[in-house]
Symmetry: D2
Subunit: 383 residues, 4 copies
């Protein structure tokens, strides 16, 4: 963190104009630990919005761009040009900027899913970034300290051999038909901008990534039943998937945008032959840990048992003082800053990467295919 | 209840000798509301155990039987013979006694699942009971007042058209290999005594029945992945199922006996296009009810909103005083007593029946078949 | 329990006519474990109600009495007379029957508080019961298995030296003025029938008793602020008390009948220099136990750590299957049956006694006096 | 927020050198919404620590000061001098810098409690700040969106006339004797640096302030029992207080640093004659709201019912995405920035002020006096 005397990273942003949700979140995440200065942006594909948005967040006039190509070119040429860029556009607009900046030698922080098609993801993964530019995929839930600790507990063998993984991510905000003036909803339910998957790409992929991150297990195959419950909706708003992991573990994944009463119910439960873990995003400072035959223990963020986790967690405040969504997001940002500065070797293995992005797209595509084939078990390696 | 001057029903029991869990539970359930006198029993297939067990619970010597056939014959012949019998043997020993007592004109209270094979279940359903003897299947979780209220809320349209049903029943008591001296575990993991399914028959069927009871929806087809994680175990100890209901609703069912940290985690969540409900068995006096766009409400047993439910619920004590598993069980017993006395017309539609038992077996068999066929969607009507 | 071949105790009841809440609860409690046969009753002071109520619960005509004096006399004279009697009248009607039956050599089970005045309580305690007749005060919350376990944990030193005890019992059912047709409310808010205290006698005394039972500590003095918030109410409906225990522990007790949203929120939290315990009545199958510096553990009824508790707890059903209010009540009944049969030596120390009843009255009287004296610290031994 | 084009406020800091907890928190809070640039500091009274700490957070060398007096003088003289200063020293070191900066016309953000003595607080309140410099007391828990909403609900009459307020703040970190190398513990348990109160000043005052903020009620008098349980500790580590509010409401306040298992259990419960509210800091995105006779509702941060609250809340992210301690803190910072810029009229009434600070000291002093006088009811207006 910049609290240790390290210099701040110069950051740009693509997308995230006034009114956009996720761009605003990225900006807060970049500020929390003081590791970045946001100095340039191509905040909208509409020039007037780009201009106004840039002014609103205090960018210098000459560093407000109206296209990402121009921004990549100009910033790469400046001696004080940006070192990293955050890409916070809709899914189908990730690939272009990511490629442009990586090829310009500028580190990329990209929202998830990595692209709108698996093909784009693979192309992106095959790029040779200039000057070893790095890539961070903001699967932000991996930044929660207890999720880091869960991963360590699994890796340490505290759960034994993993048998069952139950992941879910119910929401209810798309229970009713979407109106055009709901900016968040409209692109997420449009195949052209969101990609082949609806709920599966927007939130299912978060649940999948979390299961993958904590368990360390690769998925062998999926059997999926995707549904679009709301009349006229083109993409799935409910996702039922059975999973088979390499090594024999089994799992289920449920994601829904029509589960009335669920705001953002991401939950991971994972059981091995020696122990079990249960965590919910909506109260993320607590995690159940049970060793078979013993009482359940309530682990707390920064609390009594932090294990080795302290080495790789940002512990900003004492246990009992809740941290939330923004801090988890910020942890990815600040640890990526350390990587950029060459101080983050420990973090690099933890941060979601391009390879994770490709695997996430394989998960989406395999699920969509399985669902089209009446739930046929579909291997991720076959798509 | 016998508190209203009604006479007590004379009850017998088959199975449930000393040390048996579920027979003891049935005896308590029969006592709570004072509607039964337990006066006869064939409590074990081992004569010495039958004798000793009968004495322990205070049966008269001449009404302690060593076979159910003898008991059915003798009690039917007595002027003060039993009017109803509780069958609490392992699954494969349900069919014989149920048939014998129904044909002797004695009402039958039978533990679930109804039999160990679908064939037996169908044969039982085709019997012509003497004198209109009735049958109660003790899917005891349907006796919880809030489950009754959930059913009423769905039926009233408060949830709108049902879209998604998530049912689960995780336990952890079979996490490790079973030893022979665990009486409960040994028959439940033995195909000869338990039937084709392990976890699916023991607990999956409870979760299924609960979803069916509350939603009122019939299942069209299942896609299942049953697993036996513990080496040497012959039956499934983990059940992953996707469900398709008639009318278009989708669901998932997870049952497990190896989910470390879960004691008896039966849970039902059900979402329609107007509202959602969420209930857990381990804290059964509370249920979440959300109308779309409004805050979640915590309904309580006997609390502020009981709707029409009061007509069909046993409300023994005020809200805030927890009732539990035994009271829910007792409600089935006391309402079946009312049915026997001819006073329970309202209850009869609520009490799990022979038809429910057959459907439960269809669910088990279809799931087992689907799992053998790599998750092929299998219609319940095809088994 | 009568499941072990022990004969049933012949039981009578004073009070508890049709429509009464607590008498009905006592009858269920007496039935659950099968240790009693209810065979006689003086169920109401109004003869017609007494007659009809007796018939409703199936008493033989000649054992339906219209006065407790007559019942005590007649039953003591019968060879098959009652061995025990349950007294479930309003508080001011406890003393008379309790005295009559104890002097007739009939065991007494009495609802709490023991009497409506401390004087009556002391007189009752000075009686020499005929034939060593025993007395049980139904502080039913002491029957919860986890409360028994809490007591054992404290006694074992697992919490170290006790420092702080926070007890509370909020309800909201008297938030608005009481109408005469609310039978439960009318006598509880009437000083003539309820005694000097309102909420403090009805529920405060439960919270006090629970703190006393679990901690094993005697109270030295109280500083109280009793309030009657509802206009026209003669007795307190909100109780704020600070407590000083012998040995230096401090505590607080809050009881309220006007805390909107609280149904029956009895809660006990107790902290020593090594550990802490937290338990709530409305989800009574769970208790938090923390050893200083370690994660909180969630103990469950009958679960992984039951300690020595198994020797003195009724464990009817496995962990994860919730027991409730009625089972806790039944445990007092069944263990008192064992005491009556001479088999309950272990239980006798656990069951609330006449001495506990006198101490409970001291607590009530000292609190009322302290409140009248503007919160002056008042010793229990001074009243 | 600086996202709307507003310029950033130039900020300084007194205290908060490397290793200090609360200074670090203030810096994050100042960064989250982008309303401040931290450009100067007197971060420690030890010159070497001040220097190193300043460098670590990237201050320009000439703006790293070794005394607050020098900093006030120098910054006031610079054309680009700081506009506001954060004072994050131990309590006894609040008065001096606050006075110095206010008199230099620099806005003051001061940690709580306002001073270590009531006398200092009153002197501070009597100062005439130069150029109308403003003062913010960081009672950070008032920044939680649901606490703001609670205040609005009370003010709107949704709870009716307030009757009972239960506030508590248990922790366990001082369960054992403090060692000198625990920096946080050592000054907090030292009367010279912390003031007359221990737990009461450190956390009791937070609970008090929260009750005051939400209810809008002034406290008339307190009856307190303060205890120091740990041998050798000079200040209280457990606080029991009964409260009487103007208008007749009653309350209790419990604060403890020795309640094993409690990390940071600040909780507020408030009941009126029409409704009740319950909120816990450790899961701050949820609040119970009950209208008498209706089911409890679970309000969520930014969720279905936000009332007028939206006008005065910072809603950074959608409901279901947890915000925490740091965001609540940041809300005070960003709204104070708006006040400084002259855009924050709505906020000014919400932000804890000098007057709140004086009242908080009255609460502390009255409680300490009451406890010394064996719990005598002590009016806040009499100290």
């Amino acid at each position: 963190m910049a609290e240790n005397g390290a210099r701040r990273i110069r950051l740009g942003m693509v997308g995230g104009g006034t009114g956009a949700f996720i761009g605003y979140v990225h900006r807060i995440a970049a500020r929390i630990d003081g590791d970045y200065d946001l100095v340039a942006g191509a905040l909208s594909s509409r020039p007037d919005v780009a201009k106004e948005s840039g002014r609103n967040i205090g960018l210098a006039e000459e560093r407000i761009y109206t296209s990402y190509e121009e921004m990549a070119r100009a910033e790469a040429a400046r001696p004080d040009g940006i070192e990293a860029v955050s890409i916070v556009t809709p899914n189908h607009m990730h690939y272009g900027p990511a490629k442009a900046f990586l090829e310009a030698g500028i580190h990329v922080i990209c929202d998830k899913p990595i692209t709108s098609t698996l093909e784009d993801a693979r192309k992106l993964a095959s790029i040779q970034p200039k000057n070893g530019a790095k890539f961070l995929l903001t699967h932000n839930y991996t930044g929660f300290p207890l999720i880091r600790q869960a991963r360590e507990l699994v890796a340490s063998g505290a759960l034994g051999k993993i048998r069952v993984i139950q992941a879910e991510y119910p929401q209810d905000w798309l229970t009713e038909p979407t109106t055009d003036d709901n900016k968040q909803a409209s692109w997420r339910t449009d195949p052209a901008r969101s990609g082949a998957g609806g709920a599966i790409g927007d939130i299912g992929t978060h649940a999948y990534n979390l299961a993958r991150f904590v368990s360390g297990l690769r998925t062998d195959a999926v059997s999926a039943d995707l549904t679009s419950f709301v009349e006229g909706r083109q993409l799935d708003d409910n996702v039922h998937i059975m999973l088979r992991f390499e090594g024999g573990a089994k799992g289920m994944l449920w994601a829904s945008q029509v589960a009335v009463g669920c705001e953002n119910g991401l939950q991971l439960r994972i059981y091995g032959d020696k122990g079990g873990l249960e965590w919910r995003q909506d109260n993320p400072n607590y995690m159940w840990f049970t060793e078979f035959g013993k009482p359940k223990q309530l682990l707390t963020r920064g609390g009594a048992i932090s294990g080795n986790a302290s080495s790789t967690m940002n512990i900003r405040i004492p246990s009992g003082h809740p941290e939330g969504y923004l801090e988890a997001f910020a942890t990815l940002y600040s640890q990526f800053a350390a990587v950029i500065r060459g101080e983050g070797a420990d973090y690099e293995a933890l941060l979601p990467s391009l390879a994770d992005g490709v695997e996430g797209m394989q998960f989406i595509v395999a699920s969509v295919e399985s669902s089209k084939n009446d739930g046929k078990w579909t291997k991720l390696s076959d798509v």
